[in-house]
């Protein structure tokens, strides 16, 4: 901590910052809220277009910036809301100005924001950031009609899915374990349901998501490749309302309303799948049928809650809760198998405004992820459990200084508790056969940062900062300095250049054998043997506004170095292994690419076109004989085209087309026959060559959607029609080799390659309501 304060003092001195305001300027600050729900709008734009000055609201909806004294028009805008505009006369040193924005009457218009938002994006020092609101995601076509913000993010350049239908994020060549996913300040360790086919974020409970692909501000740390911030709705503290939807495979229901009118609100939102109801019926119908194999039970549910309390003009308190579980089970007369997994999250956030220029937010969060596998056969029972449980105390300060400086600083401490491969075998009466295995670890992670967003002059602004991170595993302590920097230079009113550098550390690691998001993946701490991962990323880009500010073109190039990447030995036992560290392999990675993005967010037709050209490699001495190999998600070309068109006030049409180079994949090149000791069943043993040396066929798909607003007697309702994979492209999920066998005598006649595709053309309909 001493280091942190010294650094902070040093930066203050370096910039010769006076506590007095510069002559002729004043600080304008306030909150931007929804007029309907009084909820803070994070990421709203507040700007004075004539001066080309502006900022975004923070997570609490708070903004603050300096203005010259005089008469000005200030505008506030946010996706899905009518813009607000106020004429002000600045005479004193400070001015409080709050905005309440009305919701747009047309749903499609909800994604339309004023052109100055694009202008502000052009002028923002930050780069490599993608923001998405639930309103936007709800319009786009979705698999089975299940709206998923994370999957919608996969349509942005530089962001890839792991495979067909998957909700994992692979950002700029990073793995799914290298994303810091946060729900209201709390880390989410496994952000997916059902093997990654659905994300854990219920769209009715979530307001917006923001994804950093690079240029990470200093307040973020702990992962190498991305930061995904998910903001939950606070609830309506004006009136009680209910929102819900009935879909093909799940339904959801949300209640929100005031606890104390205009002061406190609540939100409770739940979602559950119901295909287990159908499969149980199917099993019941087929009882007694010897040729029928019963279908196991599977369902998932999640529950989001939030309580928000406005303590006064300067203080706000919010309490967030999330609990979600997937459950898979199979039972028969002598066999009982259960597998459940999920996250449990709690977050208490206190926001305090010291003054119009000094704002603080302090949070206490608890987050946990756990999976349990239980299996009982007669007297024998085994149970396998792995988990991670964190408690984090974090505080962030935001201080607006004179001469164009906006200082952010803060610190956090996290206590981690890891349970890894806790295996218990209970042999009932035969206790001499019973045994346990597994490891428990405890660790503490620290972070402290300071950064300055400095507007050097009307053309040049910089954001520079430093993060000090540390990790104590008990037997080893690691510390690291993580410098961050970003700069923006305006070549003209419509064109700017940007560049950034970020150094990141990752002290906890995902033990995953598959590269996919499986529930059995478990987090493992850095120890004296397992050293922390490190990355450095540089990015540079150019942004240009076209067509009177209606179109924004962005081109970014990036290069990322990754040290101490983790993989596992061939055939490693990652489940029941007291010496798990012996299975780890350490290597390096690099990824680089170019992302082109063209977006239009004004008019009846909006959308974006993204193209990414990228490379992603890993190198381990023990894999591939030390030669580098492409990652599974190395994708040379990736195109996404998203179009939203408002046909009338009640009907909107949407379409999304994606194209991507096929995933890199490992296939056997040869085989040999293995008779084994007995020689009764000769097996064909595949011989693999270089890792990921094959490519699956290219992936492409067109999804179409139509939203029809209904006219119910009460409230609002709509029907959403989706057609996933419109032209029924058989996209490859994986390829395997199989034997061609004679029907007469099962003799092997030859071998062939088979490609498995998951989803054909799938229509879906969802009924959404709000009253």
């Amino acid at each position: 901590m001493r280091f942190f304060f010294l650094l902070f003092t040093f930066i203050l001195l370096l910039n010769n910052i006076s506590p007095a305001l510069a002559q002729g300027t004043a600080t304008v600050s306030g909150f931007v809220r929804s007029a309907d729900t009084n909820e803070a709008l994070a990421g709203a734009t507040v700007a004075v277009p004539t001066l080309n000055i502006g900022t975004f609201t923070d997570a609490k909806g708070f903004y603050s910036f300096n203005l010259p004294k005089g008469n000005h028009t200030i505008q506030a805008s946010y996706i899905g809301f009518e813009s607000g505009s106020k004429d002000i006369t600045v005479t004193g040193d400070k001015l409080t100005l709050n905005f309440t924005l009305e919701t747009n009457s047309s749903q499609l218009q909800e994604v339309v924001v004023e052109a100055n938002t694009l202008q502000q994006k052009l002028n923002d020092t930050r780069m490599s950031v993608e923001r998405l609101s639930t309103v936007e995601a709800k319009l786009l076509p979705a698999l089975f009609g299940e709206v998923d913000l994370v999957k919608t993010l996969q349509l942005k350049p530089g962001v890839q899915s792991g495979g067909e239908g998957a909700s994992g994020l692979y950002v700029r060549g990073g793995g799914p374990d290298q994303n810091l996913v946060m729900l209201d300040d709390a880390v989410v360790y496994n952000a997916s349901h059902l093997f990654g086919f659905f994300s854990v974020f219920n769209p009715d409970a979530v307001k917006s998501v923001e994804l950093y692909k690079g240029g990470f501000p200093a307040q973020y740390g702990g992962r190498l490749s991305s930061v995904l911030e998910v903001d939950m709705n606070k609830g309506n503290y004006d009136s009680l309302s209910a929102t819900g939807g009935i879909g093909l495979i799940s339904s959801r229901l949300t209640f929100e309303g005031p606890i104390v009118k205009d002061k406190a609100s609540f939100l409770i939102s739940g979602r559950r799948t119901y295909f287990d109801i159908f499969t149980r019926q199917l099993n019941r119908i087929n009882e007694g049928n010897k040729d029928y194999n019963p279908i196991p039970d599977y369902y998932f549910y999640d529950l989001n809650t939030k309580i928000y309390y406005k303590l006064g003009e300067k203080d706000e308190l919010s309490l967030t809760g999330y609990y979600g579980r997937d459950f898979f089970g199979f039972n028969d007369s002598n066999f009982s198998f259960g597998f459940d997994w999920g996250n449990s999250i709690g977050s208490l956030v206190w926001s305090h405004k010291f003054s119009n220029r000094f704002f603080a937010s302090t949070s206490l969060t608890s987050t946990g992820y756990r999976y349990n596998v239980t299996n009982s056969i007669s007297d024998f029972t085994f149970k396998l459990t792995s988990s991670i449980q964190d408690f984090t105390l974090k505080t962030d300060f935001d201080l607006l200084l004179s001469k164009g400086h906006n200082l952010k600083f803060g610190a956090l401490a996290t206590k981690h508790a890891f349970t890894i491969g806790q295996f218990n075998f209970d042999a009932g009466d035969n206790q001499d056969m019973s045994f346990n295995s597994g490891n428990n670890y405890k660790a503490t992670e620290f972070g402290a940062y300071v950064s300055d967003d400095f507007r050097v002059n009307p053309l040049l602004s910089v954001n520079y900062g430093l993060r000090l991170s540390a990790f104590d595993s008990g037997d080893k302590t690691y510390t690291a300095l993580e410098p961050r920097a970003a700069a923006k230079y305006s070549l003209s009113q419509t064109m700017s250049l940007k560049a950034s550098y970020a150094s990141m550390m990752q002290y906890i690691h995902l033990v995953s054998s598959s590269g996919a998001s499986l529930p059995t993946d478990v987090w493992y701490p850095s120890t004296s043997y397992v050293k922390p991962q490190r990355s450095q990323q540089v990015a540079a880009g150019v942004s240009k506004l076209f067509a009177n500010g209606k179109l924004l073109f962005t081109n970014e190039v990036y290069y990322k170095w990754m040290k101490r990447q983790i993989d596992f030995r061939d055939g490693a036992n990652l489940f029941v292994n007291d010496s798990l560290e012996n299975e780890f392999l350490f290597g390096e990675g690099e990824s680089y690419g170019n992302e082109i993005y063209l977006e239009k967010i004004k008019g009846r037709t909006t959308g974006w076109l993204g193209y990414t050209l990228s490379w992603s490699y890993r190198q381990f001495d023990e894999i591939n004989d030390g030669r580098r190999f492409p990652t599974r998600y190395d994708r040379r070309h990736d195109i996404s085209l998203v179009v939203l068109h408002q046909l009338s006030k009640r009907i909107s049409l949407t379409g999304a087309f994606v194209y991507g180079t096929g995933n890199a994949y490992s296939l056997p090149v040869a085989r040999f026959a293995f008779q084994d000791v007995e020689g009764r069943n000769t097996s064909v043993i595949p011989i693999y060559s270089d890792r990921n040396s094959f490519r699956l066929a290219a992936y492409h798909r067109l999804d179409l959607g139509l939203v029809l607003k209904l006219r119910p007697k009460h409230g609002e309702a709509d029907l959403t029609f989706n057609l996933y994979n419109t032209y029924n492209r058989r996209n490859p999920y994986f390829v395997y080799f199989s034997q061609i066998e004679s029907e007469a005598d099962d003799l092997t006649l030859g071998f062939e390659a088979k490609q498995v595709s998951l989803f054909p053309s799938i229509p879906s309909i969802t009924y959404n309501f709000k009253f």
């Binding site: 061939d570 090149v669 000791v677």
Partner: protein, 267 residues
């Protein structure tokens, strides 16, 4: 393990609505065939080996014999050449390509080496040690409500040494093909009782032959790696596995088999 059940479920759920498999054309790079050796030395049985070679995956499924392969096994300073004479045994058949007239006579601690060469200059070598027999300590069975029995067998592991075991159950006779074929290490049960078990599959009156092999690490690693390699072909979540052969210069296994065997009748 049970993850497979999950995969079956996923397969049902996600694949039931579409025709899943399409046969595709897949070009593979040329493969330089390598020698593949299987040789299990067992007390009282003739020295026999199978030498084949690996094939490109889409080659015709005929056994790729290597007629000019020469196999030599050495033991206690004595070298014995095995003669090339492809024969089959049993039904379904097991193929042997090389054999000697001599039976193997084991002593715990004995050391054997093997060398295979052929006209193309390929060479495979390996070695194997005779491990002490580990006796089956007990065999139990237990009936469920439907009258089916599960069988469990125990052994006492020797402490402070890394031990590996293979467990098999045959019905009626050992030529019938095993019902159960498992391997395990003592990593989590060093020096303690280790139990192998079956599912509820047996009925009253069944005659079972329970075999417990004390195997070496090379045998264990090879068995696991071939199982993992098979699993990886067709499992989208699995990483490919390199074959951990117990021999150098090619693929395969050269090992000794020491076994304790008991016959039981389920009553």
């Amino acid at each position: 393990m049970k993850i497979k059940i999950l995969l079956y479920f996923l397969t049902f759920f996600f694949l039931s609505s579409c025709s899943i498999d399409d046969t595709i054309e897949m070009g593979l790079p040329p493969h330089d065939p390598q020698l593949v050796l299987e040789c299990y030395l067992e007390d009282g049985k003739p020295m026999r080996a199978t030498v084949l070679e690996s094939s490109n995956y889409f080659d015709a499924p005929t056994p790729p014999l290597v007629p000019d392969a020469q196999v030599t096994i050495a033991h206690n300073g004595r070298k014995l050449d095995l003669t090339y004479n492809p024969t089959t045994e049993g039904s379904p058949t097991k193929l042997y390509t090389h054999a000697a007239d001599e039976d193997v006579q084991f002593k715990a601690g004995d050391f054997y080496t093997i060398e295979v060469t052929d006209g193309r200059g390929r060479k495979v070598t390996g070695n194997a040690k005779v491990l002490p027999t580990v006796p089956i300590r007990s065999i139990k069975w237990h009936f469920d409500g439907a009258g089916k029995a599960m069988v469990s067998a125990t052994l006492q592991d020797k402490a402070n040494t890394a031990n590996y075991y293979r467990f098999m159950i045959h019905r009626d006779n050992i030529d019938s093909g095993s019902d159960v074929n498992l391997v395990a290490s003592d990593e989590l049960r060093d020096g303690k009782v280790i139990t192998f078990g079956t599912s509820y599959t047996y009925e009253r009156g069944d005659t079972l032959i329970v075999s417990l092999y004390h195997i070496d690490k090379q045998h264990y690693d090879f068995f696991q790696s071939v199982a993992n390699a098979k699993e990886a072909n067709g499992n989208p979540f699995a990483e490919p596995t390199k074959i951990l052969s117990s021999v150098n210069g090619g693929f395969g296994i050269f090992t000794t088999l020491v076994v304790d065997r008991k016959k039981i009748v389920i009553e």
